[in-house]
């Protein structure tokens, strides 16, 4: 309690969970207050880099299975708001921070080309708020706090997507659609939390878990579960709830798409995992059935339907958006298995797909900068005029398929293992079959870039600037690196999966 007279001064390291979000959160109003266009980007980049260092420190601390609990305002949970970091959060935090830090240098050139100058300061403010919101969602252990941070990140996301309207006015309707669906999703989520509060009288996630375990399942808890899964499902873009995603990703500025595709849906998936495994627990039979009979079929449907639609796109960026929906299917499938291996696969694919998509969307951004469009017909032959960009895109594409030696292969391999472990060999076959669809849509890209004669804009295009190529190649290299060194990804995913599956019994005490 705050009123305790005996007080031991906390050290810097104790404050890491709150500093994690505080750094970008203070940087955001600071850019407005300073109001200098020249300083907006450096502030954003420095705060993002600091956040990345903090996230790395947190992951190192929690890798052994330790759980860090931070009491906001000195009020002890379950009454006070608690920030709670274990391996699962720390992993997601590191993903978000790393992507943000790498995307920002890319964003500087890309934003300068796609967004009018007078908007730049506020663009970085919105970006930082979105970033802080995503980190907040991952770090907090308080159910209502999740909603608040989710809305901070969502509202700034709508703004960021609408910035694409300077290139294509359809960004506005895309942002409006996302706003409608996102708000409905967030409101469903609040209803779910309200019902949980009614049933348990607490908002601390670990405490809710304890109370549900005590009282067992009842109608209020079950309806809360349904509301939360549908609400977060809208943010995750689970297959039938994905309608906002293709337009938002296609029309948003390239840098925004690269950042969002790699982080926003991933953080939402983390929330879903946290609620299903830590709050409701896998032994909550209703959750169990939901995963097995609803999430898994939809996940498989997403893998096929979205991949199939992706094949028939004429726009590279939109193709990637549909492919994202398919890849979310793989992650959900892993979660749906409800086994240690399945969850490990889900979490590691979350990370691997994050870096793969960041690489690909940055590649698109670089192509758009030089050719002015992301349509295949405008990119024909770009492989010859922009060799470095195209090569990185190909590496990303291979990782998307899951070719051995790339990051995508590792997580898909674990996913297939998980399916076989459960004895669900048809599912394992379906995973392989849907990867074949990925081969087709990635081949179309390779064919466009390398095999078609260079025409139009691509023929006269020059290689992308170094500020874009370096981030792009860091991501592409990461796709290969994590295809060989599985220590960090699989190791952290395993710890995270163990932590999640062990549930949160007695964690509040």
């Amino acid at each position: 309690m705050a009123s305790e007279v005996t007080h031991t001064a906390a050290t810097f390291a104790d404050h890491l969970p709150v500093l994690q979000i505080l750094v970008p959160f203070i940087a955001a109003p600071l850019t407005v207050l300073i109001g200098s266009r020249a300083l907006a980007w450096p502030i954003a980049f420095v705060s993002s880099a600091i956040a990345a260092v903090i996230a790395f420190a947190l992951l190192m601390k929690t890798m052994g299975g330790e759980v860090i609990s931070y009491h906001l305002g000195g009020w002890a949970p379950p009454l006070g708001i608690e920030y709670r970091v274990d391996a699962a959060n720390a992993f997601v935090l590191l993903l978000v921070c790393a992507i943000s830090t790498i995307v920002l240098p890319f964003a500087r050139t890309s934003v300068a080309a796609e967004i009018p100058k007078r908007q730049h300061t506020l663009f970085y403010t919105a970006y930082l708020l979105c970033f802080a919101g995503l980190l907040g969602v991952a770090v907090t252990g308080d159910a209502f706090n999740v909603f608040v941070f989710l809305e901070i990140s969502s509202l700034s996301t709508y703004v960021l997507i609408a910035q694409g309207s300077y290139r294509d006015k359809r960004a506005l309707t895309a942002a409006f659609d996302y706003l409608m669906m996102g708000t409905i999703g967030a409101t469903f989520f609040v209803i779910g939390i309200g019902l949980l509060y009614m049933a348990t009288g607490t908002l601390n996630m670990a405490d809710i878990a304890d109370r549900i375990a005590e009282q067992g399942s009842n109608r209020t808890v079950r309806s809360a579960f349904a509301f939360i899964v549908v609400g977060i499902g809208l943010k995750v873009a689970i297959y039938p709830l994905h309608l906002w995603l293709p337009n938002s990703y296609t029309f948003a500025p390239s840098a925004v798409t690269a950042f969002l595709a790699a982080t926003a849906t991933k953080v939402a998936i983390y929330v879903l995992m946290r609620f299903v495994f830590s709050v409701f627990r896998p032994d909550f039979s209703f959750a169990n059935n939901t995963l097995e009979f609803i999430i898994i079929p939809f996940a498989i449907l997403a893998m096929f339907a979205a991949s199939f639609i992706a094949i028939f796109q004429s726009d590279f960026k939109r193709m990637l958006a549909y492919s994202s929906i398919a890849q979310i299917g793989y992650i959900l499938l892993g979660i749906g298995f409800l086994t240690q291996t399945g969850l490990t696969a889900g979490i590691s694919h979350l990370f691997n797909h994050g870096i793969t998509k960041a690489a690909l969307f940055m590649g698109v951004g670089a192509l758009v900068l030089r050719t002015g469009s992301s349509f295949y017909s405008r990119l024909e032959g770009a492989g010859r005029t922009m060799p470095w960009t195209s090569a990185a895109v190909v590496i990303g594409g291979l990782s998307l398929i899951g070719v051995p030696g790339t990051a995508g292969f590792i997580s898909k391999w674990v996913l297939v293992q998980a399916a076989l472990e459960k004895g669900w060999w048809p599912v394992a076959l379906l995973i392989v079959a849907s990867s074949l669809l990925a081969v087709i849509y990635v081949w179309r890209v390779i064919e466009t870039l390398y095999l078609k004669p260079a025409t139009g804009d691509a023929a006269t295009a020059t290689e992308a600037p170094a500020s874009m190529l370096i981030p792009l190649w860091i991501m592409a290299a990461a796709c290969i690196y994590f295809g060989f060194d599985t220590q960090i990804t699989i190791g952290a995913s395993q710890t995270a999966a163990q932590g999640l599956l062990a549930g949160a019994v007695g964690m509040a005490h």
């Binding site: 608040v148 809305e151 706003l179 409608m180 509060y197 028939f312 004429s314 939109r318 405008r378």
Partner: protein, 145 residues
């Protein structure tokens, strides 16, 4: 399970009925109206229904406003309502205002670019753009238009 539906059950859960009616009204407007501003009004009604749910949750029979007397001497005989749901919903209301003003700003911009705020009209314009793109860049499937 239907024997539960007694008169006491129905009246005793009045706030939930109101919540459900408001929520469904809001959702229906969001889905059924094609005017973007009306959609937004529906979204607001939908959000307000949740505010109702939370605020009524904090009500305790015979409870008074949760304000302590200035001398901080709390009479143990006095029942206070639960202030926590009210505080939570204060946050949600602020989020709602932010969402509404952002959506209105987007509608203003849409009106400027499309010269209409009717969803059917917008879809028509977008499918025209899409058709032109398809002619130029090859057929594509899926998507909005």
């Amino acid at each position: 399970m239907f024997e539960e539906f007694t008169w006491e059950f129905i009246v005793g859960h009045l706030n939930y009925w109101l919540f459900i009616v408001l929520m469904m009204t809001g959702l229906y407007i969001v889905v059924a109206r094609s005017n973007l501003v009306k959609k937004l009004v529906g979204l607001n009604i939908f959000q307000v229904s949740v505010f109702m749910l939370y605020i009524s949750m904090g009500k305790i029979t015979g409870g008074t406003a949760p304000i302590f007397p200035t001398d901080m001497k709390v009479d143990p005989g006095v029942t206070y309502s639960n202030p926590l749901p009210h505080v939570l919903i204060l946050t949600a209301i602020v989020v709602g205002i932010a969402t509404t003003s952002l959506a209105l700003a987007l509608i203003v911009r849409i009106r400027e670019e499309y010269n209409t705020i009717d969803e059917a009209g917008i879809l028509e314009i977008e499918s025209t753009i899409c058709r032109a793109e398809n002619q130029l860049h090859g057929e594509a499937m899926g998507g909005r238009a």
